[in-house]
Amino acid sequence: MLYATSSPEDFVPSKWMASGHDVSVSLSVKSETKEVDASLSSLAKKSFPILKTAPLEEQLYSNKASLIILTSQLGMHLSDDLKRYFYNEIDELLDIQNFTNGDSLINVESFCGFLNFFIYYHNLKKPSLGVNIESFLTATWVGNEGCLTIEFLPGNYVRSILSKELLEVKEFDNSKSSPIINIYRGPLTWFEQAITAFDIDKWYKNAKI
C-alpha cells in the first residue's frame, strides 16, 4: 500500500490503546460538537490520500487541500476571520519554501481535533500554529506570565504544556527563576477543567461581550 494512512490507531500512544480507550468514540459532550465531530470524522476519512512516493510538493498540496476543505466544511461554526487565519497558517506551515528537513505533514485526525477544540471552546483567541515531530498540530497562546501549548492528538485527545511564571518571581527577574509547568494529557473536553486553577483564561479566550 503506497498511501500514507491517517488511521487514528497509527498515531495514538500505545499505552492508551493498551488501556482500552476507544479513540473512535467521540468524547464531545455538547450536542453541536457531537454533530460536528461525526461530520469531521467522516470528512477526515475522505481526505486526499498522500502518496508517499510522490514529490514533496504534491504531498504538501494534498495535505493542504485536505485541511482547507475540512476548515471550509465547518464554515458555519467558525468566524470568517478565524477561517481566513487558519487558511493562512496552513499555507505557511505547508509551504514548500518553508518546509525543510525535520518538518512534517499535518496529521488530518489531529487537525480535526484542533477544529473540534475551537468549536467546543468557542470564543478563543487566535493561536500560533505549529507542527510537532509526530505530525500533530500544535497551538500556542502567549500570555504575560508564560505560554500554553496544546498538541492535538488523534481521537480528540490533547497534550498541553503550560508554563507560567509566578508574578512575584518575575518582578525580581530573573533568568534563573523556575516557572510552574503543568502537563495535561487527556480528552479535549476535560482540558479546561484540568487547567482552571491556573487562571489563564485571558491568555486564550476573548473577553465575554
Binding site: D95, Q97, G130, T140, S175, I181
Partner: protein
C-alpha cells in the same frame, strides 16, 4: 577546544528553528518564541540535538550570528524561507536540566565542514520529560535572530 570538550557556561549556542516550531504573535507576525517540540529528540538525532557554538567566531554578536549561520549552511543544513535562529545561553540550558534532575551538557562536535558544530546531550531519549521541554522553551531562548540573507 578539542572534540567533545564541554562548552563554557558563559557561552552561547545558536540553532535553526523552522516555521513549524516557531511561536508567532498572530497580530504582529513576529516570532516570539519556540514550541517545546523544538527540544524534542527525533529518532534520527542520535541522542543529541545539533547546534552551533556562537563564540567560535570573532566579532560582535551580530557578526558572530552571521558567521554561525554560514557555517551551519556550509555544514549542509538547509534553511527554509521563514526559518529563524534561536540563541541560548549554555548556563540557562544546564540550569533548566538541573531543575528537572537532568544533566544536560553541550559538547563540541566539529565536522569537516562546520568546525563550530555542537551537540546538546542529556535530553530524555524518549521525550518523556515534557516539563523539561516546556521549561527549556520558556526559559532558554535568549534571542531570536532572523537569518542574514534570503535563502
Amino acid at each position: 577546544m578539542r572534540k567533545y570538550e564541554l562548552l563554557k557556561e558563559e557561552h552561547n549556542i545558536v540553532r535553526k528553528c523552522s516555521r513549524q516550531k516557531q511561536v508567532i504573535d498572530p497580530e504582529t507576525r513576529k516570532v516570539v518564541g519556540v514550541t517545546p517540540d523544538f527540544f524534542r529528540l527525533r529518532t534520527e538525532d542520535k541522542g543529541y540535538l545539533s547546534a552551533n557554538w556562537l563564540e567560535f567566531n570573532e566579532g560582535d554578536r551580530q557578526q558572530r550570528i552571521e558567521k554561525a549561520f554560514y557555517m551551519m549552511k556550509d555544514g549542509g543544513l538547509i534553511f527554509g524561507a521563514k526559518d529563524v535562529l534561536a540563541l541560548s545561553h549554555v548556563e540557562i540550558i544546564k540550569y533548566c536540566g538541573m531543575i528537572h534532575s537532568t544533566k544536560i551538557n553541550i559538547k563540541l562536535r566539529p565536522t569537516s565542514r562546520n568546525k563550530a558544530h555542537v551537540g546538546i546531550y542529556g535530553l530524555p531519549k524518549n521525550n518523556s520529560n515534557e516539563d523539561l521541554l516546556g521549561l527549556l522553551a520558556m526559559k532558554s531562548i535568549a534571542e531570536i535572530a532572523t537569518i542574514p540573507i534570503s535563502v
